[in-house]
Amino acid sequence: MKLEIRGLTKRFGSFVANDDISLTIEPGQIHCLLGENGAGKSTLMNMLYGLLEPSAGEVLLDGEPVSFASPGDAIAAGIGMVHQHFMLIPVFTVAENVMLGREQTRTLGVLDRDRAAQVVRDLSREYRLAVDPDSLVESLPVGVQQRVEIIKALANHAKVLILDEPTAVLTPQEIDELMEIMRSLKQQGTSIVFITHKLREVKAIGDTITVIRRGKVVGSASPDTSEEDLAEMMVGREVKLTVDKEAATAGSPVLEVQNMTVIDGRGQTVVKDVSFEARAGEVLGIAGVQGNGQTELIKSLMGLVRPSAGRILLEGQDISRWGPRDSLGAGIGYIPEDRSHDGYVGAFSVRENLVLDLYKHDDYSRGPALRLDAIAGNARDRIAEFDIRTEDMDTPVSALSGGNQQKVVVARELSRPLKVLIASQPTRGVDVGSIEFIHKRIIEERDRGTAVVIVSTELDEIYGLADRIAVMYDGRIVGTVSPDTPRETVGLMMAGASSPEEPTPASVGGERD
């Protein structure tokens, strides 16, 4: 099926999210839509899928103008979408998720679960997407959840499949598998729209590349365009794909983790006997696919989750029973992975968020009373120092862009002397300008002699920042390698293979060969 978009525009109030976008997706083609976070890719796809109503423009399917009032219409017309944030109901089974909206029923609307399960089994055999129809979605790894999303689209006989940032949660191997699936779908005549901000991927799979910036199509490219050129098209200026830094001068260990095990609320062991150390003046990067225990590991370092076994030492002192206040007070800076959830209070102003964990400090309060003038002064300084783009210091943080929200968190954590900086996904959902800025500040902090621990699911970020790379898989550190290790090796480790080498005997983590 041929999909044409003509002059599609979407306005939110005075803000134009999509400005006069035109594209053509030929049948049996993989069309990549490249753009950085916030460029308007998802807005465009949500209009195609009937989730948003276009302010202007039209969509044509095989030359016929169509309009979708709801996703139901889009599905009926043969459009399927795999959302960046999976549209699956965690407490339903795979079969229930697949059948939802087009349920197989017996008389009187009684669900026919057997038939639904059979549909899932048939599709998973036909497209080699292994999944058990009766398992609960919340118990499945993200990679499998994504398969469920694809099956959902296929069950609706999708002729155009939109994949919105599908690789963010996958291991390199799973990404390869996904690309295999995409190729086989393409051979069967399905058109695919592949949305991403990862240059490597568009080059690997795309037939055509359209680049979007600030809601506008800025051009198209062929897959053999160089990464540098694609990046420049995407961002609108020359971009350095690497982070400038000197070689690290690692000092003594500041933070040591010994044999830590964490059991989560559901009784699952999510961190398994992990040991590592972070040294002064060095960045330790913890790589791994989302959901392999990094979140819980970091939370227990901060005292947000109590480890079931093991010790955490800060400069030799056992801090494993400390709460977050003690840890923060002792000089650990913390940038949480999900900023809107843990990093800031959205309803609070920039001014208040900049002292969210400092308000008890003598600089900002006297006895029970807050020192409003000092808090305002701090806000003025940080906003200037970190170039936080905000109307004023009383603007609620929820009204800032993602990059500026993250800058608020980073500014707060770097505004006091640190021994250790723990940053989890420091640039997730952040624009390229802010990424460059945040990376620069992290390296500056390292050069000041702070021990830095970075957790990231983006290998590019890990390679850009880390002086040593620890890879986590299934709750263990499967190995610690140096950043000159080939990406393929680290990719395999992220899928559970143990490391080929041990550069630092002191950091034998979950190594069990």
Binding site: S340, H341, D342, V345, F348, P368, L370, L372
Partner: protein, 406 residues
């Protein structure tokens, strides 16, 4: 997994402002407690509530109903009687509320406990808790204050102070139970405070069967009135507890907006996870907030029982604890708003009595309907604007408990 909040997209700098606008609206929708955008909408909501109230007066007035029976023969009667009933009722309502010095005093004295208990509910809201337990906290506060008030024989001033402290402490303790249980076990405060309300009223009933709480020689569940030395002295025609209520509202504002504890309360209420990550003790905040909220409800009980030589009876708290919730909601959980809402409800309560005594004999329950309608309409500004064809206007956000999440 799928329920992760979407990472906010970064917008080019020039568009930050535009984005702020659109996100502002988004935030409006996500926490629909951002009502009371303007005084105008509130005034309109009150007007609308009065219109609905007028309809109720009309449909339930005997003369009007009879006139409706021969409406097509003589429609004028219907409108005349309807107009008269509405006019009489609302005139009496206004006169009873603010028509004289006595009426004003009455309004203030009725508003004082509503303000205190309403502040308790408001503070809990701001810390993300829904305190349905003001009723129980009031009852226990009344028991403690009353017991000190009628049992001991102490000098003027000291007696009042002691009774006041006892009442506040009793309420605080009762509130703190719910806060502590939420902090330590995650037990939802809606359930525990509801249950504690029942436990409190059972306790009161039980105590009223005991000799220490009954009048000598009587088996009635009614205590002695509190001593003179433990009642609030009269000032300008109303008891001085009213001034205490205003003072407490100022303190509550200071606590919330100007202290580290208030900062913690608001942070926990708006985003408990971020507060915990920032090193705040969410548990401490829950317990302390409910302690303070309970103390404020206890103070409301003190107003009630030490205001006018009152006795402790099974009905000492009336429906104050529940009215306090509506007051806090109308006041958008801010101290100033709560004071204003308390005054409005106090006026409705004291005016309602006169309304019932008026010629139209409109039942005092109408004021309860009016109260509910006012809050309902204020909470749904879109409805009010739609009905009255007002223009859209932005409004500030106050964070409040929104669901069961704990």
């Amino acid at each position: 997994m799928t329920d992760k909040p979407e990472p906010d997209a970064a917008e080019p700098d020039a568009e930050t402002h535009a984005r702020a606008e659109s996100v502002g609206q988004g935030a409006d929708l996500r926490s629909p407690v951002t009502w009371l955008p303007t005084v105008k909408v509130t005034a309109a909501a009150i007007l609308l509530a009065l219109v609905v109230g007028a309809l109720l007066i009309v449909v339930s007035d005997r003369e009007v109903i009879e006139a409706a029976g021969y409406f097509f023969d003589y429609p004028w009667d219907f409108f005349k009687f309807a107009g008269e009933a509405i006019w009489e009722s609302y005139r009496a309502l206004v006169l009873g509320a603010v028509g004289s010095g006595a009426a004003l005093s009455q309004t203030l004295e009725r508003a004082a406990p509503l303000i205190c208990a309403g502040l308790g509910v408001s503070l809990a809201f701001r810390a993300g808790m829904f305190n349905i337990g003001a009723q129980g906290q009031l009852i226990i506060g009344a028991v403690c204050a009353g017991f000190v008030g009628f049992t001991f024989d102490l000098p003027i001033g000291l007696h009042l102070l002691l009774a006041l402290v006892a009442g506040v402490a009793g309420g605080a303790l009762w509130g703190a139970i719910a806060g502590y249980l939420k902090a330590q076990t995650g037990a939802h405060e809606v359930i525990t405070t509801i249950m504690l309300n029942y436990v409190a009223s059972s306790t009161l009933l039980y105590l009223l069967t005991k000799d220490a709480f009954q009048r000598p020689g009587s088996d009635n569940p009614r205590s002695l009135p509190v001593d003179d030395s433990a009642t609030f002295p009269m000032l300008f025609g109303f008891h001085s507890g009213v001034l205490v209520a205003i003072a407490v509202a100022v303190v509550a504002w200071w606590l919330l907006e100007r202290t580290t504890l208030g900062f913690e309360m608001r942070a926990v209420g708006a985003n408990a996870d971020a507060a915990r990550t920032a090193g705040m003790s969410v548990r401490k905040v829950y317990t302390l907030t409910m302690l303070i909220a309970g103390g404020l409800a206890g103070l409301a009980a003190v107003q009630q029982i030490l205001g006018h030589h009152d006795s402790l009876t099974a009905n000492v708290a009336g429906s104050l604890g529940f009215d306090a919730i509506t007051v806090a909601l109308l006041g958008r959980a801010t101290p100033l708003g709560t004071v204003l809402a308390g005054l409005l409800f106090g006026a409705l309560a004291s005016g309602g009595i006169q309304m019932q005594a008026s010629e139209a004999a409109t039942p005092v329950e109408l004021t309860q309907v009016l109260q509910a309608l006012i809050v309902l309409f204020v909470a749904a500004p879109a409805l009010v604007r739609g009905v009255l064809r007002m223009k859209e206007s932005g409004g500030g956000a106050t964070v409040m408990a929104k669901g069961w999440g704990s």
